[in-house]
């Protein structure tokens, strides 16, 4: 769709000084090339690092007594959520408010849309009110791509079907980097329902772009074809995935998958794949445990692990705000560039 691959150097670079980074092989990015954040697939490694570095600065704001900066004052952001979401929606909302944007939450039960207005019409109606950005969560893969084609607003993907959840992957990478210093050379194990997960797709793309070794693990019924071609190691032996890992990420097992014949019972799933303390002992001693939430304790993760010393699950939530502030800020910078042009 987009062919604007050349990274141009603009005068805006000088206006946004950034901390010197240790020896990146290529020129550091100073802005995002695309108007939207539709997926990690569209980002270069340099752009990912730019977002993570910007998030470092944003994280500092959360530590202040007054957690608000005027950066996005006068900007209108619509949080358009067609799927229930607590974490992601509130995280975006907090991020937007801390940047002083005007936010509007539109939650629509997907079922009521089936017989009524199309997604395109809903979006065009919201567009008529001239928002600057739309944060979209939708049950259909590609819904954000569809809106990006028809909307003037910038589209931020807050999770589309089984496709991508880029800000989740960014906050995961931010969290890992915070603990490990960098991502290159790390072994990251992702265990769970790989087939239906947008989190795993975004994480696989991001982590491999930054040089991590990604191990995907789940029952063969829930491993989509082609993951090896995307650079993943794939196994159904959880011990193999976890052994020597620097980070272990669990994915939610949806209870309705049993009816689909993906696995026989929650009990058996926990026996074969559940992350227990014993299994965590196979990982590096300083390994961290992550979960994008919401967790099923006793299914994909034992409570002792979820609450254990290596768990960074609540840190992920805190970092989500900083990462989303960074994304909003960087995309808004593009709006300024467009206005100036």
């Amino acid at each position: 769709m987009t062919k604007s691959s050349s990274r141009t150097t603009t005068s805006a670079e000088a206006d946004r000084p950034r901390d010197p980074q240790p020896a990146a092989s290529t020129v550091p990015a100073t802005h995002l090339r695309h108007r939207h954040l539709l997926g990690i697939a569209d980002l270069t490694p340099e752009e990912i690092l730019l977002i993570l570095d910007t998030a470092d600065a944003m994280k500092e704001i959360a530590a202040r007594p007054i957690k608000k900066v005027p950066t996005l004052r006068g900007r209108t952001i619509v949080n358009l959520f067609f799927e229930p979401s607590t974490r992601t929606r509130t995280s975006f909302e907090v991020a937007e408010k801390r940047l002083s944007a005007d936010t509007l939450n539109v939650a629509i039960a997907t079922s009521s849309v089936v017989k009524g207005e199309t997604l395109v019409d809903t979006a065009l109606n919201l567009e008529a009110m001239a928002p600057d950005m739309i944060v979209l969560r939708h049950s259909s893969s590609g819904a954000c791509d569809l809106l990006a084609r028809i909307c003037r607003s910038r589209i931020i993907n807050a999770g589309d079907g089984m496709h991508e959840h880029p800000t989740q992957a960014l906050l995961d990478a931010f969290t890992i980097r915070h603990h490990k210093g960098q991502l290159a050379g790390l072994k990251v194990a992702i265990v769970g329902d790989l087939l239906h997960s947008r989190v795993v797709r975004s994480n696989l793309l991001l982590l491999t772009k930054l040089g991590a070794e990604v191990w995907l693990c789940g029952p063969p019924t829930m491993i989509p074809p082609g993951m090896e071609q995307l650079g993943a190691h794939v196994t159904s032996r959880v011990e193999e995935a976890v052994e020597g890992a620097d980070a272990v990420m669990l994915l939610r097992i949806q209870l309705e998958r049993m009816q689909g014949g993906f696995f026989p019972s929650l009990r058996e799933y926990f026996q074969v794949f559940g992350m227990t303390e014993a299994r965590m002992r196979l990982a590096k001693p300083d390994a961290i445990v992550m979960h994008p939430g919401p967790m099923n304790r006793g299914v994909e993760i034992a409570s002792e692990v979820a609450d254990g010393p290596y768990s960074v699950i609540l840190e992920q939530v805190a970092n989500g705000v900083a990462v989303r502030m960074a994304v909003l800020y960087l995309l808004a910078g593009g709006i300024e560039d467009e206005a100036a042009a």
Binding site: S141, R201, P224, P225
Partner: protein, 439 residues
């Protein structure tokens, strides 16, 4: 009225003809095809421009004309206009209208509409089962009597092996084929794209090739059991072709068709140039490279019998939705000839004669209809091709009521020039130099 087409290349594989011949037409019949036929009194001479090729009228044995019931997508009249603009003199239309064509009333209505349009011949295909529900045979004898050329529950497979067996047995007495849309419904489930790397990356629910292959293998086996004639619709997976070859080798009456989009595109079209393009959503889905290569090999070596478009018009609003909510299908009547010439003939994969077999001789034979031949006394259904004509596909310019094609903007070599049905010129391609002489 007599017309003498002079100076063209004639490709008529049913009669072993390929060379420069004149064609004499009297009324709706072909009188003779010979070299240097003399003009005479009462004969209008049409001088065929250099480079054009005269072939027996093309027949698309798999289209959806949507009437009755979904006239916002297509009508029999607009579909017939699209057909002749695509070089087709006849089309066979599937029964998944609303209501389903499972009785003589609907069949008669379709034939009336087609006759009123006066463009392409329209051959209705009746339902195998009442309402295409798969539960009880439709009145196939009545459908046959009313003019149906085959039966099919297209859009759905005949899911029950027993029902398929009965249909294959029962249709034997009418000498008509059962056309099956092969897909195991449990394996297809709610899939929307070929199961593979592209669907995995895009997060689209997959439909494995095996969903089709299993049902093709079943149908081939049942053709052997019953002696009935089974025709596999829109075959997309390489394993299906293996099963068809096996059935043919056993002497079973098994034929199959491939759609132009399945020999042209792979599932990579889902990711680029337009991500999640709903005009790349069809059932069966665009498959992977190895499938496309196998299908092309089958088209070349004769194990695939027919090219059929599965012309499936949908309104723009219906396609401008999330990928998984969009209906399956694309229009195909007006892109078939350019794609076949460009992708298969000009690349040297098949000859023009083979193209004529795939698009005319074999569909006529399978449906037991006239045509597919330019022999003396045959019906004067003739297509004139301009194989070297450069064309740019323009969705907006299609004659079909719907514009849902993934080939918008494609530049291809080869086009239909003239379509003659029953001796009457029903389409002239204004872009082809000299074509107006046929008017």
């Amino acid at each position: 009225m007599k017309r003498l087409l002079k100076g063209g290349r004639v490709v008529d594989p049913a009669n072993g003809v390929d060379g420069d011949f004149d064609v004499l037409i009297d009324g709706d019949r072909i009188v003779r095809v010979e070299k240097n036929l003399p003009a005479g009194e009462g004969i209008t001479v049409v001088s065929v421009p250099r480079g054009l090729v005269i072939v027996p009228g093309l027949i698309d044995m798999h289209v959806h004309l949507r009437e009755p019931g979904q006239e916002h997508k297509e009508t029999i009249a607009t579909g017939a206009a699209s057909a002749v603009a695509g070089g087709f003199t006849a089309v066979a239309c599937m029964p998944n209208t609303t209501p389903v064509n499972d009785n003589a009333g609907i069949t008669g209505f379709m034939l009336e509409r087609a006759s009123a349009a006066g463009l392409a011949r329209v051959y209705p295909i009746g339902a195998v089962t009442r309402g295409s529900k798969g539960e009880q045979l439709a009145d196939i004898g009545e459908l046959h009597e009313a003019g149906c050329v085959a039966v099919s529950d297209d859009g759905h497979p005949v899911a029950s092996a027993l029902m398929m067996r009965r249909a294959l047995e029962y249709t034997r007495m009418f000498d008509m084929p059962v056309i099956d849309h092969c897909e195991d419904p449990t394996l297809k489930a709610d899939g929307v794209a070929h199961e593979g790397l592209q669907a995995s990356t895009l997060g689209l629910r997959g439909i494995p090739g095996a969903a089709e292959e299993i049902m093709v293998a079943r149908d081939v086996t049942l053709a052997g059991l019953t002696g009935g004639a089974v025709h596999i619709a829109h075959m997309s997976a390489r394993g299906s072709l293996r099963a068809v070859r096996e059935g043919k080798a056993q002497g079973f009456v098994v034929t199959c068709e491939v759609a132009p989009h399945h020999f042209t595109l792979t599932d990579e079209a889902l990711a680029a140039p337009l991500k999640y393009d709903t005009n790349c959503k069809m059932n069966p889905p665009l498959r992977e490279r190895a499938d496309v290569e196998a299908l092309v090999e089958g088209l070349a070596d004769g194990s695939v019998d027919v090219i059929a478009t599965d012309h499936a018009p949908h309104h723009a609003d219906e396609k401008r939705v999330e990928f998984d909510r969009a209906p399956f299908g694309i229009v195909g009547l007006e892109t078939c000839v350019p794609l076949t010439l460009d992708r298969l003939v000009h690349r040297g994969l098949i000859s023009l004669a083979r193209m004529v077999e795939l698009l005319s001789v074999n569909p006529a034979r399978i449906l037991r209809r006239p045509g597919g031949s330019l022999a003396a006394g045959q019906i004067a259904d003739i297509t004139v091709l301009a194989p070297d004509q450069a064309v740019t596909i323009r969705a907006a310019a299609l004659k079909s009521k719907s514009k849902n094609t993934p080939f918008d903007g494609w530049r291809l070599k080869g086009a239909p020039a003239i379509t003659i049905v029953g001796g009457r010129t029903v389409f002239t391609n204004a872009a082809v130099a000299g074509a107006e002489a046929f008017a």
